[in-house]
Amino acid sequence: METFVQTLVSGILIGGLYAIIGIGMTLIMGVLNIINLAHGQILMLSMYITWVLWTYFGIDPYIAIFITIPIVFFIAEGISKFLLHPLMGKDSILPENQVLMTVGIGMVLVELARVIFSSDYKSVQTSYTNKSWYLGTISFNTPLTIAFIISIIMTVGLFLFLTKTDTGRSVRATAQDKSAAALMGISTGKITVLTYGLGSALDAAAGSLLLPIYYLYPDVGPLFTVKAFVITILGGLGSTVGAIFGGLILGLAETFGATYISMGYRDAIGLIIFLLVLVFFPGGLKRFTKV
């Protein structure tokens, strides 16, 4: 019983972190209609910024969020404006050119990190990295709990932004039907550029939250890119609520799978769920949530 509860707690906490990575991806996939294979690399970028801020300036990773978000937002805006957007109207043999562009961008980001920081593993040691709190015999990792709470706050904020503001509504309209949105007078070009920045900014927050829990090296990204698109497909394209549940489901499935089936197949569990949803349940959780 204790094992079960502890597994549940670990799964939910890690799921919260996955969710925030997934929300960024779901926005990008929903609005731009591309698979952002550079998502993990953007996360890595934000982790390095956080690491530099902590190591050289002594800025706490949680405060660093306020710095990484704008930096990453502007970098992503630049990527989107100068590298992805120009491909939209272009005639090419394969419609997947934008996806391949994100592969190229990801490669450049990884290699830049490798040139600047070398392949060494980096980590931050703050006063709370080794802390945890307890409820009876069940332990809650402190940085994971903080990450979970911040994820929830950010998700609620994003949800309000998407439902209550004009820009947010435009983002949602573009995600649902680009041509209809354009007919309604929405500048879909601007919205797509903005969305890439917004999605990446969420990713940046996730990076700052992840660093105290995990460690950092240039190739850290792909692991999380895969998790992000599993969540996106699970939750349904462009659905924030779906992504939250998608993240939690993935976190729980992985943790329970690892506890009760096999630790070695931990990463395979998510992929199998993903493939099954993709093939047999297209649309994912969005079918139920509709948002």
Binding site: M29, N33, I34, I35, L83, P86, L87, K90, S92, I93, L94, P95, E96, N97, V99, L100, M101, V103, G104, I105, G106, M107, V108, V110, E111, L112, R114, V115, P222, V226, F229, I233, S262, G264, Y265, D267, A268, L271, I272, F274, L275, L278, V279, P282
Partner: protein
């Protein structure tokens, strides 16, 4: 243009040049090794190009076929000491069988979903082959003392396979089959409306494509003498690099993957070896960075690849003569 046994004169010259290549340049095994690598990527690039470039099914999981081909050569050796050379027969076949089952799953998907589906399939296989130690020896990998020290036999073997894949793609694309493939790429609904059984032809494209990828995998085992799931099922180093070879050379062109493979291997090696030892040491750090940047620039300005956009390149460099690609 006059043809001699399926190939044009120009192509015979290239083939002749390729056949002599290992003998010039001082017979350096290091240089021969690079050429072998180029040819292996030609096979993989061609394989991907047939499915993605000509049929429009952009696979992000070609490592699955490459890996299964390599293991088809390695597993019988590991368990029964059967020579991996038999993999040249079984490797392609195993990949076709895998392709048949994967096709049942992923051909239900379109566009980006197809890409994600194939990507996930490749990754699942990588994890599976790493965990099922009783069959695959897991992460220990399978080692085999290679047959020849000289690289020459391997060079001609892979040259033969590479030419085979080139000729196969060329012949197919000139046939009715090629027409069906292109019609699926251009507009699947329209193709169906015309009465083309798209599922059938997609499966045929996948079968041919996976056959060559599997063959390349079996060759890898024979030549390198070592397989390990992280190497042969690698997402970045196999699946994605295969795509980039196609993109750089030219998607949907006969010679595109060959040119792409040549550029990819030599640019990476040029930087990795710090301009063959004469440049400063730090240059070697840049090998993947330069290649990544090249990919970005190519997609932005020459989406058709070197071969596909050859006319544009010519014009940019001031040459008037415009010629169709071969």
């Amino acid at each position: 243009m006059k043809k001699y046994l399926l190939l044009e004169k120009r192509e015979w010259i290239i083939l002749g040049g390729a056949a002599l290549a290992p003998w010039i340049f001082g017979f350096s095994p290091y240089f021969q090794g690079l050429l072998i690598l180029v040819l292996m990527w030609v096979v993989l690039g061609n394989s991907w190009n047939l499915l993605a470039g000509y049929t429009g099914q952009v696979s992000f999981g070609h490592a699955a076929f490459f890996g299964i081909g390599a293991y088809a050569a390695a597993i019988p050796y590991h368990h029964f000491k059967i020579s991996p050379w038999w993999g040249l027969l079984t490797g392609g076949l195993a990949a076709v069988i895998l392709g048949y089952f994967l096709g049942k799953l992923v051909f239900r998907l379109r566009g980006p979903y197809f890409a994600l589906g194939t990507l996930a399939s490749g990754e699942i296989l990588r994890l599976l082959f790493g965990e099922e130690e009783w069959l695959t020896n897991g992460h220990n990998g399978i080692l085999y003392m290679t047959t020849f020290i000289s690289k020459i036999p391997y060079y001609y073997l892979i040259l033969f396979i590479a030419m085979g894949s080139l000729v196969a793609v060329k012949v197919i694309m000139k046939s009715k089959l090629g027409f069906y493939f292109l019609s699926i790429r251009e507009d699947q609904e329209a193709a169906e409306a015309l009465g083309i059984d798209t599922t059938k032809y997609k499966n045929i494209a996948l079968a041919i494509s996976s056959f060559f990828a599997g063959l390349a995998g079996a060759f890898y085992m024979i030549y390198m003498g070592f397989v390990d799931p992280e190497v042969v099922f690698a997402l970045h180093n196999i699946s994605i690099l295969t795509i980039l070879v196609g993109i750089i050379g030219g998607v949907g062109t006969i010679w595109g993957p060959a040119v792409g493979a040549l550029i990819m291997v030599f640019i990476q090696e040029l930087f990795r070896s710090s301009f063959f030892g004469v440049g400063p040491q730090w240059v070697s750090q840049l090998h993947s960075l330069v290649f990544g940047a090249l990919v970005v620039v190519m997609i932005l300005y020459l989406a058709g690849g070197v071969v596909g956009d050859w006319d544009i390149i010519r014009k940019k460099f001031g040459k008037k003569r415009v010629e169709g690609q071969g």
